[in-house]
């Protein structure tokens, strides 16, 4: 009866109430792994405790390890008590854990999927999960194509949309999205054979960080920056992602990966895109990602036979980092004594478009640097004409605006100011605004933010296929040049800002790296 029909939206249509996703179930492949216990389930627990998950929600872990539902829950509880020690509540856990399930199964076998399908149907009945499914690929990336194929063959890829008894089907892919352009393209073809791009969520947790999103906020919610954000005012840009840590126990992984694949292809390229992109029409998935892809397309191709003029790779030797003596990379566990794997990369990228013509983007990412620092430094042109004499302007440098992502999130601007007193001496002064200090509230964990977006069906902060491929496309010639022998990896002492070759990369252009 039309007159008496009231929909839930009436109570929800309220700006003070948070958006809560539709009922659904999340299937995690590779659920016995570290990511599930350390990141995914704690993030889901937080969402549940904070009233941001629907009542009708369930998680199904799937992997080859034999475990009962209760074993799985006990394992997750243990992890949760460790990672959420101060927020753990027995009652919240009890109600949350009822929605956690585990299916042991080999993701290479069809019967696993038949069993999964039946199990999900049962959950729809028992938990009211409404046929909505999220398939989270957290297993080894070599299994991704197999899992996707089986899901497709079992008909679990179908996005029924508004159909009766049907729900959505979404696929989450953890990085790495391939090892190079070719494998990324292959992976995308394999996945897209069964899932439409709108169903695919490639996750790079970096984009879930508040601090990274703040780059967008700073650029596009402040009218004063945009007019000078171009080649007329900017001389060059330096993007630094420095870590003081070494590789720890991840030697085997790192030997296969290296800094270019581990950090540059994803995190650094995202920062480059957010820094260089045109203002999107709206903060929505297509507008934002379209602009990011345009940046990647505009990056000038690095010639494979002249990669050395654009790219430097380095590897740390032993040294001292903040008072601690540390081993060299080749002495680390599971690392070859003649390893050529890079722990440091610097690149010179040119963005060939109207805005950035002639403005180099210098990028560096490395391990065992003197300190942890992620920042974007915008170096402005010198003033066109100097009013003051040489001695008066000693110590006066061009303006630099630094967007610091970590550790102290904020913006600093180096400006020239008059030294008090007679005469007209002008010196550079740093104006430092720690905008993080204006909001000391604890930022939600990156996974928490992204999982919620995923369940709400908002892919804005996820990577689109052409973005992943675009980033690989830029780096492919460099990787080829390095794998074809090329020059030896340059060495740098742990606790320094990288090899001399990296300094030369800028020196050739009459510039130098700034000290973060």
């Amino acid at each position: 009866m039309a007159g008496t029909q009231v929909s839930q939206d009436l109570l929800r249509d309220d700006s003070r109430l948070p958006r809560v996703p539709e009922p659904g179930v999340m299937v995690i492949f590779g659920a016995s792994g570290d990511l599930t216990a350390r990141k995914l389930v704690p993030a889901l627990y937080d969402l549940a405790a904070q009233r941001l998950l629907p009542m009708e929600f369930a998680v199904v872990g799937l992997s080859r390890t034999e475990m009962s539902h209760d074993d799985f829950r006990a394992k997750l509880r243990e992890a949760l008590e460790e990672h959420r020690a101060d927020q753990f509540s027995e009652d919240v856990w009890e109600s949350f854990s009822k929605s956690l399930y585990y299916l042991p199964g080999d993701s290479k076998k069809s019967e696993t999927y038949a069993e999964l399908k039946d199990f999900l149907k049962k959950l729809d009945e028992d938990h009211g999960t409404a046929g909505n499914r999220i398939f989270y690929l957290s297993s080894s990336s070599s299994l991704f194509p197999t899992i996707v194929e089986h899901l497709g063959e079992a008909g679990m890829n179908e996005d029924a949309g508004g159909e009766e008894d049907g729900g959505y089907s979404r696929l989450v892919v953890e990085k790495p999205f391939g090892r190079d352009l070719e494998s990324a393209q292959e992976l995308n073809v394999d996945i897209q054979r069964y899932f439409d791009e709108t169903q695919i969520y490639r996750i790079d947790h970096y984009l879930g960080k508040e601090t990274v999103q703040n780059i967008i906020a700073l650029r596009f919610s402040n009218g004063i920056f945009e007019p000078m954000w171009n080649q007329h005012y900017i001389d060059h840009v330096q993007i630094t992602v420095a870590e003081s840590d070494g590789i720890g126990t991840r030697g085997a992984f790192y030997e296969e990966t290296g800094a270019l694949r581990d950090i540059v292809q994803n995190h650094v390229m995202q920062v480059l895109c957010l820094t260089a992109m045109e203002p999107p029409v709206a903060f929505d998935p297509d507008s934002l990602r379209e602009e990011k892809v345009k940046v990647l397309k505009a990056v000038r191709h690095i010639p494979e036979d002249d990669a050395e003029s654009f790219a430097v790779r380095g590897q740390y030797d032993e040294g001292w980092v903040f008072g601690e003596e540390v081993a060299g990379y080749r002495e680390e566990e599971d690392v070859a004594s003649d390893s050529q794997t890079e722990t440091y990369v610097s690149l010179k990228l040119l963005v060939d478009n109207w805005r950035w013509a002639g403005v180099p983007f210098y990028i560096r990412a490395g391990k065992r640097m003197p300190k942890k620092a992620t920042e974007i430094a915008i170096q402005f042109h010198k003033t066109p004409h100097t009013l003051f004499s040489g001695s008066e302007t000693r110590g006066l440098e061009p303006n630099v605006m630094v967007i610091r992502i970590q550790p102290e999130e904020g913006v600093s601007l180096k400006i020239g100011a008059k030294v008090p007193g007679s005469g007209f001496e002008v010196r550079s002064v740093n104006m430092d605004l720690l905008y993080g200090t204006a909001f000391l509230e604890e930022a939600p964990d990156a996974y928490q933010r992204l999982l919620l977006d995923l369940m709400l069906g908002d892919p804005t902060l996820f990577i689109r296929a052409d973005e992943a491929e675009g980033a690989w496309g830029i780096l492919d010639p460099v990787m080829k040049a390095w794998s074809d022998g090329g020059s030896e990896v340059a060495r740098y002492e742990a606790g320094t800002w990288g090899p001399e070759e990296a300094d030369k990369l800028l020196k050739r252009d009459g510039r130098e790296w700034r000290r973060p």
């Binding site: 009231v6 839930q8 309220d14 109430l17 809560v20 009708e56 109600s95 102290e408 200090t437």
Partner: protein, 355 residues
């Protein structure tokens, strides 16, 4: 000139410049270099001597999440002689290489100046930032002091539960909605947010959403001090679901309101028998189904339950969040703009009281 030079027998003359200078000194780093100030709002509080300690404690506690210029006005207009006293403090925290400070000035105003509080608060506000005016206790809408203060504010924040007569306070607030007043924030309404979210969540699945149109009876159990909260909750349901109030019956600590809903009569029973929690539970009945949100044995948690024919079909326990005054005020400081859902709920709550 008002706001520039003020005399006070207690602390001597103090100008706006002197106050700003003292703030700058308090912000300085250990080595004497200028300290940073981070501010997102101006928070002006009007209170009395009795509540001053508690209020300043709440404001100081907020300085972490909402660094602000807080101006706490302790007003005693009954005193015969004019007297002004200023206490200046800054709350600094170490951030990176320096410290960041939020500031608080406590102004004791006695006698005639207490009638012109806006002349004291106005010059102390930081430019370009929104002004939240918080009345933690009772206030009189028609007093000239109130009008003067409201003229400074972008948002007025009140707490009907702190009023002697909570019902009357809601009526006063509803009256404000008809005036050219700043946006209104109500801490009782803020406290209801998690409850409202949980109630809305009970009807999230489409098959249960249909039941919203068939609700016959609602039970709300609250403490006597939760009267305003309970009325706003009932007002919210009624205004959102299109129920029209028809009649009311009252007993001590009990109110039963009849509404005409889209599919028949709806009864809302509000009982003030809860010994401790301002709001203890809400139950909504529709046919053989019941929907309940109740405080759990852990006071900070709530349990949502859906039953059909007496059998539990869905349940879960979640955190309700903190109901500490500081946390609630902090929540309100997040909000900007007109809250139309609240306005409708408030008007309905007043309509219920006026039956």
């Amino acid at each position: 000139m008002i706001g520039e030079s003020r005399s006070s027998p207690g602390s001597g003359a103090m100008t706006v410049e002197q106050i700003e200078h003292q703030f700058a000194q308090l912000r300085a780093n250990d080595d004497g270099s200028p300290g940073l100030r981070a501010s997102v709002v101006n928070l002006v509080v009007v209170t009395d001597e009795e509540s001053a300690g508690r209020v300043t404690e709440i404001v100081s506690g907020l300085s972490g999440d909402f660094p602000s210029r807080a101006v706490v006005l302790i007003s005693d207009p009954e005193e015969e002689h004019a007297n002004l006293d200023f206490q200046i403090s800054a709350f600094c925290s170490i951030r990176g290489s320096g410290q960041v400070c939020a500031e608080q000035v406590i102004v004791h105003a006695e006698g005639p100046p207490a009638h012109h509080l806006e002349s004291l608060a106005g010059p102390l506000l930081l430019p370009d930032l929104p002004v939240f005016l918080w009345y933690p206790a009772d206030f009189t809408v028609d007093s000239p002091e109130f009008e003067g203060m409201v003229s400074l504010a972008d948002r007025l924040v009140v707490d009907p539960a702190a009023a002697q007569d909570q019902g009357y306070c809601l009526s006063e607030l509803a009256e404000l909605l008809n005036r050219d007043a700043p946006d209104l924030g109500d801490l009782q309404w803020v406290s209801l947010s998690p409850w409202r979210g949980l109630v809305a969540e009970l009807f999230h699945p489409p098959e249960r959403a249909e039941k919203l149109g068939e609700i016959e009876r609602v039970e709300i159990l609250h403490a006597p001090r939760g009267e305003a909260r309970s009325l706003l909750l009932a007002g919210w349901l009624a205004s959102t679901l299109g129920w029209k109030p028809e009649s009311v019956s009252r007993e001590e600590n009990y109110r039963e309101v009849s509404f005409s809903g889209p599919s028949g009569e709806v009864t809302v029973e509000m009982s003030a028998d809860s010994p401790d929690s301002a709001l203890q539970h809400i139950r909504l009945h529709s046919g053989d189904m019941s929907f309940q949100v109740s405080r759990h044995r852990q006071i900070s948690e709530a349990r949502s339950t859906v039953t059909q024919g007496g059998e539990v079909v869905a349940e879960r326990t979640v955190r309700l969040g903190s109901f500490e005054p500081g946390a609630i005020l902090g929540e309100e400081l997040h909000y900007r703009g007109r809250d139309d859902v609240y306005r409708a709920a408030l008007r309905m709550a007043v309509e219920i009281m006026d039956l």
